[in-house]
């Protein structure tokens, strides 16, 4: 079922051949590039200060163990330098009217308090800033200043003041020789006219603290997979040294717990999150790479190594990297209050033995969920969402990247969990379908 967005009876007019892409993660970037490469103008809207999305924070990628930031950075600059792409970072879509071929979009450009055209990204301001707060990009394990660049390769390389923590000491303004800092800056609302929209809003990680039995949030040495990614990342808060938060010691026996906040009918996430098995295996392999002496165990229900090269990687994890796999979901986690080690209960299903296992670090591998802002965007664009919160698609086979509104497309995790190659592919596919509409403008 399709419906027009605003006024049903409006005759279709293909007015604009510009496109709007919402979300600057790897899927949105790919969609933007593939539209822009056809010669159409693309507005790429990203609500955080930088494009790059989740992939920028991931340490390595499966199944090739490529360094994530390293393969992503060239893409970041490709997007930033593309003559047909206009980056609107730190911005959010507020209102949309119109229909396929002719949408009018209002976008709020949040005040950075730093002028994008004046900032050179030199970082002098952050050096003098006296305020240190936990850094979102580092999963709050590391710190950033109140004036900050989220990560070194942030694109655009423009600083942003977090006014919630800024103490207004004005040191940054005094230091900036370019006069880029402006405390009086106000949000701006800009209006765009576009012919097609691609929604690439990504995902959020399931909040695993809703499982009290696993101890996340209560026990220091129970961390989630994203925190682990930052801990093993050379550019991360520990310069790539995997440590226990409780005592800074190098863990020697690490457990990975799969299917948390995924395949759980009681927590509103009945679906498989598709990526956790593989990132879990990858992280386990990295643990062995970092410390070949470490014992590494993965607790799982099914290992879903379904993509190209995945099963081969899983096999390699078992045989070459010596990762230990135990089929069985973990019951309770208890902390040894003295050593801060964790003791878990699990049934090894292959032997039907109930085991009590001690680990000195537990990594919980959370499933994916629609991001917080997706509902707002869905409302603004009048898109239908499934019960699980993801965007509905028009048809599984003939219109797999089309939403229920013509002219609005979806890619990446906006319509369901996806790994990087599937997100990138969907980004290209959404771009294809969008450009078919754009090509009708001005009747070529």
């Amino acid at each position: 079922m399709t419906q027009s967005m605003d006024y049903v009876e409006t005759p279709k007019k293909y007015v604009s051949d510009n496109a709007l892409v919402i979300g600057g993660g790897v899927a949105g970037m790919q969609a933007a590039l593939d539209i822009a490469n056809q010669g159409y103008k693309v507005y790429l809207v990203e609500k955080t200060p930088s494009i790059g999305g989740r992939m920028a924070a991931i340490d390595k990628t499966f199944p090739t163990l490529d360094c994530s930031a390293c393969i992503l950075t060239p893409k970041l600059s490709e997007v930033a330098r593309h003559p047909n792409i206009e980056l609107l970072t730190y911005s959010e879509v507020e209102k949309a009217t119109g229909h396929e071929g002719n949408f009018t979009i209002k976008i709020r450009r949040k005040a950075r308090y730093v002028h994008e055209d004046k900032c050179s990204g030199c970082g002098e301001c952050a050096q003098v800033c006296p305020v240190e707060v936990p850094a979102e990009f580092e999963e709050k394990i590391g710190f950033r200043k109140a004036i900050y660049l989220p990560f070194p390769q942030a694109t655009p390389a423009v600083y942003t003041i977090d006014m919630d923590t800024c103490i207004n000491c004005k040191r940054c303004a005094k230091t900036c020789t370019r006069g880029a800092i402006d405390y009086e800056m106000k949000d701006k609302v800009v209006q765009l006219n576009v012919g097609a929209i691609v929604v690439a809003t990504g995902y959020k990680l399931f909040d695993v603290s809703v499982y009290p039995r696993l101890g996340y949030g209560r026990y220091q040495n129970v961390i989630n997979a994203m925190e682990y990614e930052r801990l093993i990342n050379a550019a991360g808060p520990t310069h790539g040294h995997l440590i226990r938060i409780s005592d800074g010691k190098t863990p020697k026996d690490i457990g990975f717990i799969q299917c948390v906040g995924a395949r759980d009918v009681n927590k509103g996430v009945p679906y498989c999150s598709r990526v956790c098995c593989m990132y879990g295996v990858k992280n386990a392999v990295m643990a062995r790479e970092h410390d070949p002496e470490a014992k590494v165990t993965i607790y799982y229900a099914d290992i879903r190594a379904f993509g190209k090269g995945f099963e081969e990687f899983y096999e390699m994890a078992k045989t070459r990297f010596g990762v230990n796999f135990v089929k069985g979901r973990v019951g309770e986690v208890v902390e040894d209050s003295e050593t801060k080690d964790l003791i878990i209960e699990v049934e090894d299903i292959n032997t039907a033995q109930l085991e009590e296992v001690r680990h000195d670090l537990l990594v919980i591998c959370p499933g994916l969920q629609p991001p917080d802002g997706l509902e707002t965007i869905a409302k603004v664009l009048k898109l239908e969402q499934s019960e699980d919160g993801y965007l509905d698609i028009e048809d599984t086979f003939s219109a797999p990247v089309t939403t229920t509104i013509p002219g609005v497309f979806t890619c990446g995790c906006a319509d369901g969990p996806k790994d990087i190659p599937d997100s990138v592919t969907a980004g290209s596919a959404a771009a294809m379908r969008a450009t078919i509409i754009l090509s009708k403008a001005g009747a070529k």
Binding site: K60, T64, L65, D66, C67, E289, H290, R320
Partner: protein, 148 residues
């Protein structure tokens, strides 16, 4: 020409083998990259030269390296059948046998040169190959004593 036995006698204590490693861009260079990203540690004696394909490697490149004082030469490419350029590595393999003979006739122990296949995902194989050659060359001693 001097024999290997003599060469070992005069090995200096602080001598470290110098290895020239020719790697194809698509498999072994990438495999060496992966060895790095995977933090696989191996002896720092090799200097990697990137060529598009092992098929590009002229026998002269190997002889010249030995002539200029390399203690060993490594050639590493895609597995036969997996060449990015279909069959360049097969040509390299075909030339290799002849190469070894030439080296031997020039008075160099053919153990100083090594041909190996390591794909882009075989970081360990690449690293092991470097280690194996370094160890072998260490046993043979510096090349300068036997050359000329």
């Amino acid at each position: 020409m001097m024999t290997e036995a003599k060469a070992t006698i005069v090995t200096e204590n602080d001598w470290e083998p110098r290895i020239v490693a020719y790697c194809c861009n698509w498999c072994s260079y990438a495999g060496a990259d992966l060895a790095g990203t995977s933090r696989i540690q191996y002896p720092p004696n090799a200097r990697i030269l990137r060529v598009n394909c092992t098929g590009r490697i002229k026998p002269e490149f190997i002889l010249a390296a030995l002539d200029m004082g390399a203690d060993g030469v490594l050639v590493s490419g895609c597995h036969p059948g997996d060449c990015h350029y279909t069959s360049g590595n097969l040509k390299a393999r075909a030339r290799w046998a002849l190469m070894e003979q030439v080296i031997e006739q020039a008075g160099v122990n053919p153990k100083r040169v090594r041909l190996q296949w390591a794909s882009a995902s075989e970081a360990q194989i690449f690293a092991d190959g470097v280690r194996a050659l370094v160890e072998q060359v260490k046993e043979l001693g510096p090349i300068v004593r036997e050359w000329k």
